[in-house]
Amino acid sequence: MTGRAAKATGVNDTFAIETFNLTKIFDGCLAVDGIDLAIKKGELFALLGPNGAGKTTTINMLCCLLKPTGGTARVMGYDINQEPYKIKEVIGVSPQETTLSERLNALENLNLIGRLHGISPRKLKTWSKLMLETMGLAERARDQVRKFSGGMKRRLNIALALIHNPQILFLDEPTLGLDPQARRAVRQYIARLNGDKTILLTTHYMDEADFLADRVGIMDEGKIAALGTSVELKTEMLATHTMVVQAWNLTQKVVNDMRSRYTQVAVDKGSMTISDQRLDFKEIVDQLHAAGAVVRSAHIKEPTLEDVFLKITGKGLRE
């Protein structure tokens, strides 16, 4: 046990999840590289990262579906190596893939998972009804899951994670593959849970993390590359400002003129993106006018989490 891992013996009531040098190696390939993370009770924490960054492996270790190669973690005070069944009693998991029994109907799936978590049939009846209504599946409650669309399966997948009213919710890409309407409904539901439950969410969607998460961790190559609130992370980007201008007559002369003044100038189909450490909105518009361009619209672009990720890792989130 490492020095950090040794800390796991002391229980901290503030945190729902704590990891101590948590490491996973698959056949010599380092999937999770000694991460140290602390998620407070009631916090909605989003773990971002490209495919293969180690997000799902981290979740699987925290849900006791995978044994760590090194280090450890505590979930609601229980050690993942020592007390996996205690942890399973307090967590709800919505895996990335839809994991449903196709031959059971929606209600039967919910009842099965609920009963396995020890929920009484009476409570289950009420909760299942509520859950199916929330997820917009009430009318299809008695249909076999194999007849469901991908979106319906995904919603039921989330419902299964919630049926036993867990203290901690692991949502691995919960909105992946949903149509915009369903995605909005799921997001709103997750937002409603915020504060009531501790939620660890992994997602590809930056806006989702931005909208939902209290804090964001950016994972890359098995490591936590950046950690903080969305605002904190984006503030780090404020050292560089970006202005986007839509204009007519963006001639080569205009582009050359702007490039001589600012660090980065890119032009694409009547749109010019200017980046520099200091930007003055009025000054740029005047400079463009003076150079012969006709400005139709202009705005200072807010940095996004995608920008943060690009800056930190040098690659896009979907790579």
């Binding site: 579906l65 895996p95 994991t99 020890g118």
Partner: protein
């Protein structure tokens, strides 16, 4: 050339699953090796024969200890009472017993001196296995002629016994066929768990606080229900084809049920060790088919070499075949098959403990 592209895909998928490919190649190889080992060469079966020496002369004693003991196809057990030997024959522990009548030694001495004598032996045998009976009589005849140094066959007073009823082919074959049907529960059991593994539903179930033993028992319970239905159907079909259950039907049912539980347990172990339905099914067949052969489902185990017999007896299915045949064809009771039942129950318990341990290990990998 779409078909070609699809064929190529299938070929690549098979080629890239080395374990499944290995099983595919190993399956026929294993069959050939097993059949070769079981029935190839000059392997002779070994039957347990009782001997009652009523003559009690030096000649009769040396006939037993030298002539009969050197016959490779038989193993001799001596008895003093005919009744005891008959009891053992009825229980199925003996295939036959020979009575050396008074004057046997005298007749042999005559034959040694003059070359002419009237040598007679009384053989009582279980006629439920006609092939074995004929072989036993022929072997004893040859051994006696060689010992007495005569060329003509000795007089064998054959006394076939049919303990309770007339045994038909179906009586002898049906128990083996039923056991074979229950052996096929191995791939079925493995498939049910592996389907959950492959479609990821098992990973959902693993996020609940369910313990390994609960998983194994839940899978098994549903399979036991299937097995019970299967056994009832098998017995009914056997009955329709003329199978006559001489002994207790409940005892036969218990033997079949324990066999089914053993098969299910083996299936659970295989499912815990493999990752895909393909792998699990191949391994299940690789295991169950050779086991069916060496367990005496189709051919008597006694025809196989001793090391194959030892291997067969390490598994529960040969015990199940023996016990089921004894109950169905000879009508023996609980006491006679209690050893086999204890072995079956012990094996069932052991395989379930092993399955639970293995499943527990794979739960977090």
């Amino acid at each position: 050339m779409r078909f070609w592209q699809l064929s190529l895909r299938s070929f690549k998928e098979t080629y890239r699953d080395p374990l499944a490919l290995g099983f595919l190649l190993a399956f026929p190889l294993m069959f050939m090796l097993l059949f070769g080992a079981a029935f190839g060469g000059d392997t002779a079966p070994s039957y347990t024969i009782g001997v009652i020496d009523e003559d009690q002369t030096t000649v009769s004693q040396s006939f037993v200890s030298e002539a009969l003991a050197s016959v490779p196809t038989i193993e001799i057990t001596t008895f003093t009472e005919t009744n005891t030997a008959l009891e053992q024959l009825e229980l199925g522990d003996l295939r036959a017993y020979i009575v050396l009548p008074e004057g046997f030694g005298e007749q042999v001495l005559l034959s040694w001196q003059d070359g002419e004598a009237d040598i007679a032996l009384n053989i009582t045998y279980d006629e439920s296995d006609l092939m074995a009976s004929e072989q036993i009589i022929a072997s004893i005849n040859t051994a006696t002629r060689a010992f007495a140094r005569i060329e003509i066959p000795v007089t064998i007073n054959a006394n076939p016994i049919n303990i309770e009823t007339e045994i038909t082919n179906i009586d002898y074959i049906a128990p083996g066929i039923i056991i074979f049907g229950l052996l096929i529960m191995i791939p079925t059991s493995a498939r049910i768990m592996l389907r959950d593994k492959e479609n990821r539903f098992l990973s959902r179930l693993l996020t609940t606080p369910t313990r390994p033993w609960e998983f194994i028992s839940s899978y098994s319970l549903s399979l036991v229900a299937i097995a019970i239905t299967q056994i009832i159907v098998f017995i009914l079909l056997g009955w329709l084809f003329g199978m006559d259950i001489v002994g207790s039907i409940l005892l036969a049912f218990l033997i079949f049920l324990l066999t089914a539980i053993c098969s299910i347990g083996v299936g659970m172990v295989i499912a815990s060790l493999t990752k895909s339905e393909n792998q699990g099914e191949s391994l299940s067949w690789l295991f169950s088919m050779p086991l069916a052969i060496v367990s005496g489902v189709w051919f008597s185990v006694e025809f196989m070499p001793s090391y194959i017999q030892t291997l067969a007896h390490a598994f529960p299915f040969s015990h199940a075949v023996d016990a089921a045949r004894a109950v169905i064809t000879r009508g023996v009771g609980l006491e006679a098959v209690s050893g086999d039942l204890v072995f079956l129950a012990g094996w069932a318990a052991g395989i379930f403990i092993l399955g639970t341990i293995l499943f527990g290990r794979t739960m977090r990998s």
